[in-house]
């Protein structure tokens, strides 16, 4: 038996979470360091996965398979393709920065009971989410994936509801009410999506008799499994609904601004940059992989919804007065791009969408974490409370600008490559959609630059005049993220090499060929 690398990659943060939670109340700092070490160890393991993965090899590699719940036809089956490898890398890369950025976010208040251990809980929950997200990128058994998809809601829910942003307007009580509203909204939206998916999962079992992605695909290929058209469509809709809530796609997006607004900045990054990627990843792997015909059938409607997301999210971002909600709406716009790229059914579109997932994660993390540092200095999330920050804190302002420029996909920074690929891939098949989507880029420039102008330039306000610049810990968080953004912007090849073969497999799942002569995506 070979070394179960994938299991270990997920098990390390899971065990780390338990250990972190068990640290005594007084040894708060030890818990933080433990969490950081565990997340770094996971990053090393993810790097090993990346190195061991052979782009030209089998579709699913490093596979593991064990019997689990025989009665339900469920196996503990893991395997990664290029898309999974890329997203595991993203997750493992971001968590150490999230931990570092949230270093003081969960320090207990003086008034709180001595037995209440928020710090340990906070970092343990983050690691628990990491473990579940990584395992969900590895699962090739639909049921196993479903369990993780649902179970990760619980730690996320506690992270949102239990550890709110301390910068808020109004009373503590009011803020607590808003926070628990956001947490409940997050949970109910996602749980409802998940339960609808449960109906579809049960339906899939009735039709197929097992949950293994590879076995089902094989049975479909050699004609043993024949799904009626209507059945396939219903099942597809059940799965897609859950993923569209998670991703989130208009009109199921309304939980995201609440959740990201009320959560602390690192948790907001965890939501949008890491957890939401499970939704888009699952569209690629499960919607297209299990229900190719139904996916093609639904494509026009989904493209329209994605377009609405792109434009609507961007428009609302322009109108936001709250920095974190602005980033949330910008994310909704970007998720529109990702979903459009997936369902354009071209190899550029899907490669672009996968790269987009990674790049959006990194760029949003950079922007949001710097925004979090900014907010923690002034104690307010409102844009109107800032002005002239760049004079007092030039490094903070500069990094904020780079994060913002990445968000608007400036050439030379990583997101440009992916956004360009998505647009090209979409244009090849749906020219009108491609043209409409470009308005999203124009609006992105608007909301990012206006945000920068209002907060960083102009006359300094009373409260911002003496704002301290980034501290060492904060620089350690921001600098590597910006370095990665630039690196992937000028040299995306290591990533595309891994992603492209996987996309070719997905394209053959849906039996689609590129409309124009095939172009190797972004060499």
């Amino acid at each position: 038996m070979s070394f179960p690398l994938l299991t270990v990659t997920a098990a390390v943060p899971a065990v780390g979470a338990v250990l972190t939670a068990a640290v005594p109340a007084a040894r708060r700092t030890a818990a933080k360091w433990l969490a950081l070490l565990v997340s770094l160890a996971t990053l090393v393991l993810a790097a090993v996965v990346f190195a061991r993965f052979e782009p030209g090899g089998d579709r699913y590699q490093l596979t593991e398979s064990h019997a689990w719940i025989k009665d339900f036809g469920v196996r503990y089956e893991l395997g990664v393709d290029g898309i999974g490898v890329a997203l595991i890398g993203l997750t493992a890369l971001l968590i150490p920065f999230i931990v570092l950025a949230g270093w003081h976010d969960a320090d207990p208040l003086e008034t709180q009971s001595k037995r209440w251990r928020p710090t340990q809980g906070f970092f343990a929950l983050i690691l628990m989410v990491e473990a579940m997200v990584i395992l969900s990128f590895e699962a090739t058994d639909v049921f196993l994936f479903y369990i993780l998809f649902e179970a990760m809601l619980i730690p996320m829910y506690f992270l949102i509801g239990g550890f709110g942003d301390r910068a808020h307007s109004g009373t503590d009580e009011n803020a607590a009410a808003q926070r628990s509203y956001a947490a409940v909204k997050f949970l109910l939206y996602n749980l409802a999506g998940g339960l609808i998916m449960l109906a579809a999962v049960i339906g899939l079992y009735v039709v197929a008799g097992n949950f293994s992605l590879t076995e089902i695909a094989e049975a479909r290929a050699n004609g043993q499994l024949d799904m009626a058209t209507s059945t396939e469509r219903w099942l597809f809709l059940g799965f897609f609904f859950a993923f569209a809530v998670k991703a989130p796609l208009w009109p199921l997006h309304t939980w995201l601004p609440n959740a990201m607004g009320e959560a602390t900045a690192p948790v907001a990054v965890l939501i949008t940059a890491v957890v939401d990627k499970v939704g888009t990843f699952a569209m690629l792997r499960f919607c297209l992989g299990l229900f190719p015909e139904a996916s093609k059938w639904a494509t026009p409607a989904i493209i329209v919804l994605a377009l609405i997301s792109i434009v609507y999210g961007a428009l609302l971002a322009v109108g936001q007065r709250d920095i974190k909600r602005l980033v949330a709406y910008a994310s909704i716009s970007h998720f529109g791009f990702i979903i459009m790229g997936i369902f354009a059914m071209t190899s550029q579109g899907q490669s672009g969408a996968t790269l987009y997932m990674v790049n959006h994660g990194i760029s949003t993390a950079a922007l949001m974490l710097v925004a979090g540092f900014l907010i923690s200095r002034r104690g307010s999330r409102l844009i109107a409370d800032y002005g002239g920050v760049q004079k007092a804190a030039p490094v903070l302002a500069g990094t904020f600008l780079i994060g913002g420029l990445a968000t608007l996909s400036l050439p030379g920074l990583a997101p440009f490559v992916s956004e360009f690929l998505v647009l090209v891939g979409t244009f090849a098949r749906y020219p009108v959609a491609g043209i409409v989507a470009t308005t999203g880029i124009v609006l992105a420039a608007l909301y990012v630059l206006v945000l920068y102008q209002r907060t960083m330039t102009g006359p300094a306000k009373e409260e911002t005049r003496n704002m301290p610049d980034l501290r060492a810990r904060e620089l350690v968080v921001v600098a590597p993220l910006i370095a990665v953004l630039i690196l992937l912007g000028v040299y995306p090849q290591p990533l595309t090499d891994v992603v492209n073969p996987a996309v070719r497999h997905t394209m053959s799942d849906v039996q689609q060929k590129d409309p124009s002569p095939e172009v190797e995506a972004a060499k």
């Binding site: 719940i69 037995r115 179970a151 829910y157 409940v184 749980l191 609808i196 049960i202 009735v206």
Partner: protein, 553 residues
Amino acid sequence: MSATAVAPVVHTLWTTAAGPIDKIPAPHIEYTQLSPVLIVVGAAVVSVLVEAFVPRKARHHTQVFLSVLALVAAFAAVVGLAAGGYGSTKAHIAAMGAIAVDGPALFLQGVILLSAVLAVLTFAERRLDPADHGHRVDSFAAEAAAVPGSDQEKAAVKAGFTTTEVFPLTLFAVAGMLVFPAANDLLTLFIALEVFSLPLYLLCAVARRKRLMSQEAAVKYFLLGAFSSAFLLFGIALLYGYAGSVSYADIAQVVSGDVPAVDPALAQTMGNDVLLLIGFAMVLMGLLFKVGAVPFHMWTPDVYQGAPTPVTGFMAAATKVAAFGAMLRFLYVVLPGLTWDWRPVMWGVAIVTMLGGAVVAITQTDIKRLLAYSSIAHAGFILAGVIAATPTGVSSVLFYLAAYSFVTIGAFAVVTLVRDAGGEATHLSKWAGLGRRSPLVAAVFAVFLLAFAGIPLTSGFSGKFAVFKAAADGGAGALVVVGVISSAVAAFFYIRVIVLMFFSEPKADGPTVAVPSGLTSVAITAGVVVTLALGFAPQYFLDLASQASVFVR
């Protein structure tokens, strides 16, 4: 049949009665195979004697010891029988056709006994309330017969009386519950029903605090319960008229169109489908009342709220197990030929039960009432598995019942811990901020709530998946969709409690969490362990349930 043919029958009846005694055959009883029931009944009788003869001081300990010992011994007997093959190859009908010894019966008896052990542990808890007049007190009235607030009651409290009668009552109830899912004729079914119902009515009435509410609950339960028993009995009478027998096998034979010998006295009615349909509907009503399915659920919230909380936990878990067991046997053994007739009715019942329980629970402000409505919704989910009418349906229901009973007992045991000056603080507003003050208790309760909500990696999810899968396999896909929707609704109010516990600021005059003795701790720990074990690794127990899913006919 003419009158001349009837006359000799009457004559022979008279002569038989006057005949020699040795012609009455002695009933053949398989004592070993009935040992679980016999042990519990025997212990119950001894327990009554303990009440009469053991001095008051030693009574509590003696009763607890005796009850736990008897229940554990009975469980060992069940395991022994199952290991001896009585659950599968050697399954047969014992006690002259009255009681079935087969897989489902043994499985459910095991579940009932285990939940009874845990329940008895919570009954015996005497650390939660401060001592009264220097005497430790449990959840039960000092003297149940004393009028609340009277001088007699005060005297009883001062003297340190306790209602140790709850232990023999519980043992009798358990004995009835053991027979209920194993009953193989309608009369045994009825007697078992009464044997477990009557002690439960009494148990509901003996709360130490809020005594009037407790007595009100008992009266409501008794009146409505008596009503449902009457329905059941009338249904039995009609079925007897239809089939000329109360034995399950005989009725099934007549239903399938194979009438053995027409009883001359019943020549007018035998084989009359009107009697069959009305009769089975009435029996089913009696059973649906016991499981608390809509529209026979009205008693549930009041009784759950008023009864002493340990009793509520016991009742919610064990009654449901016993009643669903009886329902399964009735539908699968007596009425397999009638599946097409009962399924549409049960569809309707299952749908309104799932939706009704989940929707009404949203507006509840008392934790015990909330759990009561949630138990109604769960009855609906289990009905979805019953409707499947396949062996996987049976095994999924068995598994669900096992999973559910442990979660329920654990959850109600936690409710007993949260107290203020007036006893248990069951109003939801008082639970605000519990997670900050007692993280461990709140976390444990959260685990139970998540299991109720059916979140993956808890037993609730495995159970829900099993019944929904069975229902979908059995062609009830629409039911699964309704079930999923009501799960989403139900999730809302479970989550609301979690929000209250963890995200609300604790109130200054909020309740305290009593530190329980080992007894309650064991019950709660067992609940958590089983909940997580059935969530992470349910395969062994699913195997057990599917091996146990064949009814003997």
